[in-house]
Amino acid sequence: MDILLAQTTDAGLADLGKAIAFGVGVGLGAVGAGIGLGTIFGSMIQAVARQPELRGELTGIQWLGFALVEAVVFYALLGALLAFVLV
C-alpha cells in the first residue's frame, strides 16, 4: 500500500510511466522475436521431416537465423534501457 501511495506524487507518477514504458517496449520486442523464432523452428521441423538428409546443412542456417532474430529482443531491451535512463 505504501508503494501505491508513493506513486501519487509527480515524481512517482513519472517513475511509474517510465516503468510501464520499459515493460511495454521490451514486451513488444519479445512478441516480434517470439513470432520469428516460432517460424524458424517450425520451418526447420517441416524441412527435416520432408528431407531428413539435409539436417546437417540446415542446422547451421537455423542457428544463424535464431541468433539474428533473438538479437531483436536485445535491441528492444537496449533501446528501452536507454530511454529509461536518459529520459
Binding site: W63, L64, A71, F74, Y75, L77
Partner: protein, 275 residues
C-alpha cells in the same frame, strides 16, 4: 554474486557491471586503466592461447587420442560450417585463421563469464582473511570489447574489398544492379548507413546477449532479496539455474558462432561482391 554475502544491503543488479579502476593508467586522454573487464580479457586470452597450443600443436598422431579429437572437431566445425561456406577459395588461407581464432576467443570469453571466479570489486571476511568474493562477469558483457572486435572485422571487410576489387569496383558493388537513376539518391545513403549498421548490430548482439544473460540470473536470485521472503528461494534458484544452463548450453556457443560466421560472410562478400 557478491550480494549473497551482503543480503541486508540494497539490491541493485547494475552494481555487478560497474568497473572500478584497479591499476590506474592514463595516457593523455586515453584511459587504459586495468579493471575487472581487462583482467577477464587477460584470463580469456591466456586460456585461448593455452587451449589452441594444447589441443592442436603437439603430440599429433594418425590414431588420434581424445585431446586431438577435440581439437580436430573444433577445427572442422569452423572450417566446414563457418569458413568454407562463406569465404571464397582464394581468401581462405588468409581469413580462416582469423575467423577460427575469433570463434575460439569469443567462446572462451563467454564461457569464462559463467564460471565463478574470485575477480571482483568486493571482499568478504573468511576467518580473518579478506578474500575477493566469487562473481560471474563476462568481458563480452562490455560494449568496448565487442565493439573492438567488430571494428577489426569492419576494417578487414573494406580493406580486403578494396584490395581485391579496386576502390571503384568495390564501392560500386554496394549498390544493387539495375536500379533506375532517380532512385540512386535514395539507395546510396541507405547502403552506406547499412554498412555502419553492421558494426552496431555485430557488437550490440553479442554485448546485449551476454549482459541480458547475466542480468537475468542476477535478477532471478535477487527476487529473494527484493521481497525478502523465504518462500521465493526454491522458485528463484530453479529459475536462475534454468537460465544459467540455457546460457551455458546454447547462447554462449551460438553467439560465438554467429559472430565468427557473420565476420566471414561480410569479409567474403566484400572480396567477391557478385555473390
Amino acid at each position: 554474486m557478491s550480494f549473497v554475502f551482503a543480503a541486508e544491503s540494497d539490491f541493485d543488479p547494475q552494481h555487478e557491471f560497474i568497473l572500478e579502476e584497479w591499476i590506474p593508467l592514463h595516457l593523455g586522454p586515453l584511459d587504459m586503466s586495468v579493471n575487472k573487464a581487462v583482467v577477464y580479457l587477460w584470463v580469456g586470452g591466456f586460456l585461448t592461447i593455452f587451449l589452441g597450443i594444447w589441443l592442436m600443436r603437439f603430440g599429433l598422431s594418425l590414431r588420434p587420442n581424445r585431446r586431438q579429437t577435440t581439437g580436430e572437431s573444433i577445427y572442422e566445425l569452423v572450417q566446414a560450417q563457418i569458413a568454407e561456406s562463406s569465404l571464397p577459395r582464394k581468401a581462405l588461407h588468409l581469413w580462416f585463421p582469423y575467423v577460427a581464432s575469433l570463434f575460439l576467443f569469443i567462446w572462451i570469453l563467454n564461457i569464462v563469464g559463467f564460471v565463478p571466479l574470485p575477480i571482483s570489486n568486493d571482499t568478504f571476511d573468511f576467518f580473518g582473511v579478506e578474500l575477493p568474493t566469487l562473481g560471474i562477469y563476462a568481458a563480452t558483457a562490455n560494449l568496448s570489447v565487442t565493439l573492438a572486435l567488430a571494428l577489426i572485422t569492419f576494417g578487414a571487410t573494406h580493406v580486403e574489398g578494396i584490395r581485391y576489387n579496386g576502390p571503384s569496383r568495390y564501392f560500386k558493388s554496394w549498390i544493387p544492379e539495375g536500379v533506375p537513376k532517380p532512385l540512386l539518391a535514395l539507395i546510396v545513403p541507405l547502403e552506406v548507413i547499412s554498412q555502419f549498421m553492421r558494426l552496431i548490430s555485430l557488437s550490440v548482439r553479442l554485448f546485449a546477449n551476454m549482459l541480458a544473460g547475466h542480468m537475468l540470473i542476477l535478477v532471478m536470485l535477487g527476487l529473494i532479496f527484493i521481497f525478502s521472503s523465504w518462500v521465493l528461494i526454491p522458485i528463484s534458484v530453479v529459475a536462475g539455474t534454468a537460465i544459467y544452463l540455457f546460457e551455458v548450453g546454447i547462447v554462449v556457443t551460438i553467439q560465438a558462432f554467429v559472430f565468427a560466421l557473420l565476420s566471414a560472410i561480410y569479409i567474403g562478400a566484400a572480396i567477391e561482391p557478385q555473390h
